[in-house]
Amino acid sequence: MAKKTNIKELASVVIKFVGDSGDGMQLTGTLFSDSSAIFGNDLATFPDYPAEIRAPHNTVAGVSGFQVNIGKSKIYTYGDYCDILVAMNPASLKANIKWARKGATIIVDIDTFEKNAIEKAGYVLNPLEDHTLEGYNIIKAPITSLTRASLSQLGFDNKTADKSKNMFALGIIYFLLNRELNSTLDYFDKKFKNKPDVIQANKTTLKAGYDFADTIEALDSTYYVPPAKLEKGKYRNISGNIATAWGLLAASERSGRNLFLGSYPITPATDILIELAKHKSLGVKVFQAEDEIAGITSSIGASFAGSLAVTTTSGPGLSLKSEALGLAVMTELPLVIVDVQRGGPSTGLPTKSEQSDLMQALYGRNGEAPLIVIAASTPSDCFDYAYMAAKLSLENMTPVILLTDGFLGNGSQLFKIPKVANLPEINPPLAKPNDADFKPYRRNPKNLVRQWAIPGTEGLRHRIGGLEKENITGSVSSDPLNHQLMVNLRAEKVQKVADCIPLQNVYNCDEGDLLVVTWGSTVGTISTAIEELNKDGLKAGHAHFHYIMPLPKNTEKIFKKFKKILVCELNMGQFANYLRMNFPQFQFYQFNKVQGLPFTVTEIKEHILKLLNKKIRNKNKS
């Protein structure tokens, strides 16, 4: 490879790949992220794609994007704005130019900028020829024609060649970032083991893109993002959905309970089902059910039979599972429900993200039906919280809803690989064979948890079901006072889980003018914003909640120490309302957004400053 001159070292860089939904942008982004992970950068990714598999060609509706932020220190977000935008056609440029930082480098496939495509994208004039892109560093690369040319020498026709043009773009980026091609070349060898043609086409195109970037003079400099200083250990790049699946597998192994997944495919949760279906060698039983209801009810059956039972879904599916959730509450069986949230209501925005299922998770059932609700906040901590969901569920004999969302499920991040033996123990309250004292609803007085008596076990035959149970015996009962007692016991049991979850942390400062309260996938953006504001002299703390039902015991104590409390979430104020119910003594300010998009650091900072009547003193670019 040619020696490069003028290499600029950067602390971090945000790259976004955009193109038609069939252009392979997700793969391109993933390959780049994997190579960055292997190189040692910290990173965060954000895939942004339409619900349609192949939306109309060259339209804004059909644009698929993948954004990745890589850095030499801890990366919390995939970045508000990109430093480098790769646009494979006019529509993707049109849709994404607003997400490029002023002065960003924009690489376009010049071959696609013909009249028809420009008009279809909604441009009147060719944006490369008027003043639309003034202030950006535009690289006009003939990606389609050069890909075709380099592959025609090898005997590939144009149609086949066009499938590889994303690799040409990736080659350009590898040059621009001073990145070795090795990990990606290896990937081709493994992935297309039996298709030597495809390996050759991809490798040729990737190198052609790299060499093209090396020869043109449009690049006045290239960039270098040094490896991050990471804690000692083994790492990999992982998406939230895979991390969720693995966390569940780890919990199964650690608890000694076989994993059963009953699930119906639904965007953006399906990848958990797909991942678990691969791992039969770990004994997981994956049942692709006929519908969402069978997904959860088969899981309840599996839980009754002694498995670590899980069902995975998204908002519309959670709605369908409501009645069965009540059954799991009533029968006091362990069950993990993973809700990878998406935009709602109804079918809503299947591929976009939102945090609007919180109230449904907390209350979306008939009757008084409390259960545990927890939330993951980064792709890699989906592993930890899936593990915790299983632990809390098994040990407390109660359903647990784990909330993640589309950003987390599809986004990826560096993951420090744990050792299963170092994960916390999981001890389900199994009833002993022939225990003469066994009663289905006799409880451990400390945590109010009943015992799990598994069919097949000698001397424990019993019946349970959805009708109200008599305390201790579990016989069907409609006695008024017994019902009140059982309602109280079920609620108290869930509240007592607060004894076995960690206390809430507050970051940046323990007391002050403002506490920003968040949960879920917004953590990176908001912690970045608050850190920057604190550097500018603001006294703002940040409490990011993972445990929602029950809340950590010190929640009230934390709230008392701040003059104002602002709850930021990607819904219309569901967590804020929940906190108002629990702590009516405080005033909760809200900042909400429901656009299927994440918060940006800029808008969070602006909102906070407005709330506190402060002016921006430092015009940081974010």
């Binding site: 994997d34 992970a37 292997i38 040692g40 990990s183 804690e231 000692k232 250990g233 083994k234 790492y235 990999r236 790049n237 693995w246 597998l249 780890a250 192994e253 059963f260 009953g262 791992h279 039969k280 060698s281 770990l282 039983k285 049942f287 059910a289 006929e290 209801i293 069978a294 009810t297 088969s298 309840i300 059956g301 599996a302 009754f304 039979a305 002694g306 498995s307 039972a309 069965a324 059954l327 029968t331 690989i417 744990p418 050792k419 299963v420 598994i454 069919p455 097949g456 000698e458 001397g459 424990l460 035959r461 019993h462 019946r463 349970i464 079901g465 959805g466 009708l467 016989s475 069907v476």
Partner: protein
């Protein structure tokens, strides 16, 4: 754990299937070391069905047949949905799960897949399995999960007090159809066979012997067994099956099928079923030159559903109602195939534990 799959599919298919009820059950669900009796399966709960309800005799038949099936009593599990029928688990002293409306088949699927060493029974009704639970019902049948489904068909919604169900005959006047129903009824046998079912039997609540026989056959069958029991709802649909069950008419309207035996019925078994012009017809032995040799021989083990469908479809008053095991064909079960895939994957894969998985693929180390 159940290892019965390791008999191998071929062996299951070629298993010597003989024409007799009460044959030995071949599988590896753990058997009881001591002889059990009916009393072992009676629960301490008060039975709260209406006096005279057909469900009582179904309960009695189950309690009678479970000891004969011979599994360890802890290995029986009964799952139900909602409705009169679905109170069933409370009344049998085994592991029981009273589910929610329509979902018994799905809950039971999870139980069986999770632990194939259990003998899993489903107690359900025509509303529970064919209306609100219709989707689960056809899919469990299609998958051939090894469950025994006892479907109480009283052709009415009893627990909600008398609305028509998916098996209520066309035109019936009920509380929710004061002008008569304007929808066609399901034929359960045809539905089961249409859904790729491997076992379908029909029995009457007033015939405990036949009920026990078909329940035993259901237990013996590997795969989803559907037993339709015509049950009388004494309060809301009394005498719905009267033509078939009444003393005066029952010989004319009951065809009790036995594998490899001629399809005879009527007084002194003088009538029989023949195939004429691609249709089933009733013939009388000794009339029009018909002899016993002309009568169809029942073949429950026939893969082809043609004659079995026609038998399931027969209904009074034109025909007798076919009872007994109409279809029983050997096919691998979902739960066995699942175990086989897992065993194979455990042997073949390098990933033996979660640590192996976490450390597989693209990883890098920081020292």
């Amino acid at each position: 754990m159940n290892n019965k799959y390791f008999l191998g599919i071929l062996e299951i298919e070629n298993k010597n299937i003989e024409n007799s009820y009460m044959e030995t059950i071949i599988n590896t669900i753990q058997r009881s070391s001591k002889e059990l009796t009916k009393e072992d399966f009676i629960s301490d709960q008060m039975v709260k069905w209406c006096p005279g309800c057909g469900a009582h005799s179904i309960l009695s038949s189950v309690a009678n047949v479970f000891p004969k099936i011979g599994y360890k009593k802890e290995n029986f599990t009964i799952v139900s949905g909602i409705g009169c029928s679905s109170r069933f688990p409370y009344y049998v002293n085994v592991y029981g799960f009273h589910g929610i409306h329509g979902r018994a088949a799905a809950i039971a699927s999870g139980v069986k897949i999770s632990n194939p060493g259990l003998s899993v029974w489903v107690a359900t009704g025509d509303g529970d399995s064919l209306a609100i639970g219709g989707n689960h019902f056809i899919h469990v049948v299609r998958r051939n999960i090894d469950l025994n489904i006892i479907l109480f068909n009283n052709q009415i919604y009893g627990l909600t007090k008398g609305q028509f169900s998916p098996t209520t005959p066309y035109g019936s006047v009920t509380k929710s159809s004061p002008y008569g129903t304007i929808e066609n009824a399901f034929n359960i046998g045809i539905l089961v066979m249409g859904a790729q079912g491997t076992f379908f039997a029909r029995a009457l609540d007033i015939n405990p012997k036949l009920m026990s026989e078909v329940m035993f056959e259901a237990a013996r069958h590997d795969g989803t067994s559907v037993i339709e029991i015509l049950q009388n709802c004494i309060i809301f649909n009394d005498r719905a099956h009267e033509l078939i069950t009444a003393k005066e008419t029952r010989e004319e309207y009951q065809l009790i099928l036995k594998h490899q035996e001629p399809m005879l019925f009527g007084k002194n078994k003088k009538k029989g079923i023949i195939l004429k012009n691609k249709q089933l017809e009733i013939a009388e032995i000794g009339r029009n030159g018909i002899s016993i040799d002309d009568i169809l021989i029942h073949d429950a083990y026939c893969e082809d559903i043609g004659i079995q469908m026609m038998l399931a479809q027969m209904s009074p008053p034109k025909y007798p109602l076919a009872l007994g095991v109409i279809r029983m064909v050997a096919r691998p079960t979902y739960d066995d195939l699942m175990e086989e895939q897992i065993t194979k994957a455990k042997n073949d894969s390098n990933i033996k534990c979660v640590d192996d998985l976490l450390n597989s693929g693209n990883i890098f180390e920081v020292n």
